[in-house]
Amino acid sequence: MARFLLPLREGRTEPGPFSPAALFVSAVVAAVVVNLVTEPMVVLSLFFLVLIGGTVARTRWRAVLGLAARFEFVVLFWVLLEPITYGQTVVGVIQTPWGPLPVYREGIRMGILLGLRMVTILTTVLAALSHMTLSDLIGALQTIRLPGIILGSLVIMMRYLPVFMEERRRMEDALALRGLQTGSRRERLRALGSMVGTTIDRAFTRSEAVYDAMKLRGFSGCVPVTAAGLRRTDVLLLMLLGLFALAAFYVFPAVVVL
């Protein structure tokens, strides 16, 4: 699953010091805090703070950063878009076939800020998730009262997305074995189009079969997950979160000014 979606742990694991619900909520709150910071250097400092904290907590950085890196296009899109769309102070001009494109100082700063925010938020949330199993995550979402129908859909999606990806890979292999790469571009596009159609068709057929199997075992729209609840040690997490906010709004800005 980690290869496709989230860096969740697999199987059943020993419970960590904090409840999954507290961990999940803390990650979301930390993301909000990062989102409120307007100074790029402060966001960068928070990013390093997350890295240090995660290392102390033995986060599986390879899985986390590997997944975060998949969002590079989204991040780069904003980093590169802002300098040419936002601001008033022109610092340079890019010559394009369609005419000159001004680059703004404010846009460069905004692009860097947005990019750093996105990377920090992604890393924080993924790092928190890397300490949970899917069941922990479902339990956490149950604890924060997410509707059962959404939880049910989430469970199915998380379970079957890798299956569909595998299926698509097998179809790609089958096409390659029959010379997909040597065909004309038009043929390749047609084959890939058919593959997408087949994948959707198979996904639909399988989802029907899975739904049948679930109905036979009493599924009525909700997955029977026991809400994980909270633990006393979560108070410590709350304190750490407070320190994070303190660093974000007071300590790091003061250091940056100095």
């Binding site: 069941s135 049948d212 075992r217 026991t226």
Partner: protein
């Protein structure tokens, strides 16, 4: 009560008729093989028994209770259905959670759910895989976990759709052993197969479907004397002769594959 399943004049159609005038019984403690070519209606029949499909006409009774939309959950607690493809049946993150899904939906206490999961996984000899993610199971293991999920609901009747499809011999042995253990506890079994071996050795009676109609319904030992039954499970003698004939023809390596290939 003598019938685990009683089917009377059952008709069903998708675009055209899939099942026509099906009448048969599965007696309590009986093991019945359902035989037929692909598309003959075997899986459709199973889906009608557990109410996943609604018949065009006719009646299905499970343990003397008519299958109606109102009673489906009660019926489904009595009848376990093992799909042909376990990939369609397992959906929870781990083996343990998947097996626990049915008992949890039955409203049992956590202790009772745990007892049932341990019992079911022990029955299929997979207790040591309880914590494994279901997407890391081999096909044979997935099949047995799917069976454990069914067993955990302690059904009185089992419907097994191609229970041995795609399994290697040790896995076939393991599944047979598991189902035999259940049968000895009085569970009635209805299963589909294409294998003559299982027809000869592992069925009290046989139901043969051909294009959605019953062409034989009777004792297993008499079934293989019926030419229409042989047509469904394969005339292996004829195939052996065909292969033998083909292999006596000299090789023509230079010919390659092409339009002039003789049948």
């Amino acid at each position: 009560m003598t019938c685990a399943i009683d089917i009377i004049d059952l008709n069903f159609r998708y675009d055209s008729f899939a099942l026509r005038d099906i009448t048969t019984q599965l007696h309590i403690g009986e093991q019945k093989a359902v035989v037929g070519l692909n598309g003959s209606g075997k899986t459709t029949l199973f889906k009608l028994i557990v109410g996943l499909l609604r018949p065009l006409s006719g009646e299905v009774y499970v343990l003397d209770r008519r299958v109606t939309p109102e009673d489906l959950w009660e019926i489904r607690q009595q009848v376990g259905f093992l799909f042909q493809n376990p990939e369609d049946q397992l959906f929870a993150p781990t083996v343990w959670e998947d097996v626990a899904f049915g008992p949890q939906n039955m409203g049992l206490s956590n202790e009772e759910v745990e007892d049932r999961v341990v019992e079911a996984l022990s029955t299929v000899d997979l207790l040591d895989l309880a914590d494994r993610p279901v997407n890391q199971l081999s096909h044979g293991q997935a099949k047995r976990v799917a069976l454990a999920g069914v067993i955990a609901m302690r059904p009185k009747v089992l419907l097994l759709d191609e229970p041995f499809a795609g399994l290697d011999f040790p896995m076939v042995e393991a599944v047979v052993d598991t189902i035999e253990r259940l049968r000895r506890r009085g569970v009635s079994v209805l299963y589909t197969t294409h294998s003559r071996f299982f027809l000869e050795n592992w069925a009290d009676s046989v139901l043969v479907l051909e294009s959605g109609r019953v062409v034989y319904d009777g004792p297993a030992d008499e079934a293989l004397r019926e030419p229409r039954v042989l047509g469904q499970v394969g005339d292996w003698g004829r195939l052996r002769e065909s292969i033998h004939r083909s292999r006596t023809v000299p090789l023509d390596i230079d010919a390659g594959l092409g339009a002039d290939m003789e049948p």
